[in-house]
């Protein structure tokens, strides 16, 4: 039998790797994929907690997170296409119009 903490730890590891991808990479595509990894890590925690506690809310929340992830990917990639058309780059450090 697996302890619930094992699932929570796995969820934290996936989330942490996603955080590394977001803060350490320059490629916007990979940053967006890392955000998906973070959301997936959270889903592992939701599903595990739901099934250990016997509450359907875990599954329903994971479902909502997936919806948000799909919406976020669609809008994020649309932004990326608009950006690439304008700047011809996918390097996040070159985008500093709003940075003073």
């Amino acid at each position: 039998m697996i302890a619930p903490s094992a699932y929570l730890l796995l969820s934290a590891i996936l989330f942490g790797i996603g955080v590394v991808g977001v803060v350490a990479r320059k490629n916007i595509l990979i940053i967006l994929m890392s955000v998906e990894l973070m959301l997936n890590g959270v889903n592992v925690a939701f599903v595990a907690a739901g099934s250990y506690l016997g509450d359907t809310a875990g599954g329903v929340f994971a479902f909502m997170v997936m919806t948000v992830a799909a919406a976020e990917a669609a809008v994020g990639l649309a932004l990326l296409i608009a950006l690439y058309r304008l700047k011809e780059t996918i390097d996040i450090t070159e985008l500093r119009v709003l940075k003073w």
């Binding site: 039998m1 697996i2 302890a3 619930p4 903490s5 699932y7 929570l8 730890l9 796995l10 934290a12 996936l14 942490g16 790797i17 996603g18 955080v19 590394v20 803060v23 350490a24 320059k26 490629n27 595509l29 990979i30 967006l32 994929m33 890392s34 990894l37 997936n40 889903n43 592992v44 599903v47 739901g50 099934s51 250990y52 506690l53 016997g54 509450d55 359907t56 809310a57 875990g58 599954g59 329903v60 479902f63 909502m64 997936m66 919806t67 799909a70 919406a71 976020e72 990917a73 669609a74 809008v75 990639l77 649309a78 990326l80 296409i81 608009a82 690439y84 780059t89 996918i90 450090t93």
Partner: protein, 162 residues
Amino acid sequence: MEAVLFILFGAIAVCGAIMVVTRKSPMASALYLILTLFAVAALFVLRQAHFLAAIQVIIYAGAVVVLFVFVIMLINVPEDRLPVERATTTRVLGILAAGFFILESAVLARRFYMPTGPATAVGTVEAVGRALFTDYLLAFEVTSVLLLAAVIGAIALAKRKI
């Protein structure tokens, strides 16, 4: 048996995730992302969350990653114009912070009490469907507005001339 499968798919998920953030080419990252998502779907099956495992494969591995692959091929950045990754102070500190977060969660997860036991069937199609259409009906319906907003936003942003 469950422990063996958990360790196997957990290891695949973590290795795939590490590959996603370390590959230079975005296409390789996208393919490793699919690997991770499939491994996580297998973990959902271990917790009797069959509905979510199916949704994970269809929506994530099917739709979201295909969208990523589509965009990678559409903008098609040449190899030599991919951003060069350098280890600046901010980045190293960010990685250290993420490592600290994992350690902290490991400590917290051991203290957090949850009853250990076999998976209860709360993630099956029947259980999730019943919950979605009774207790969480409003949230479920509002989700459709979110998706509509995302569709309109994506088209408005990516279209040259509206």
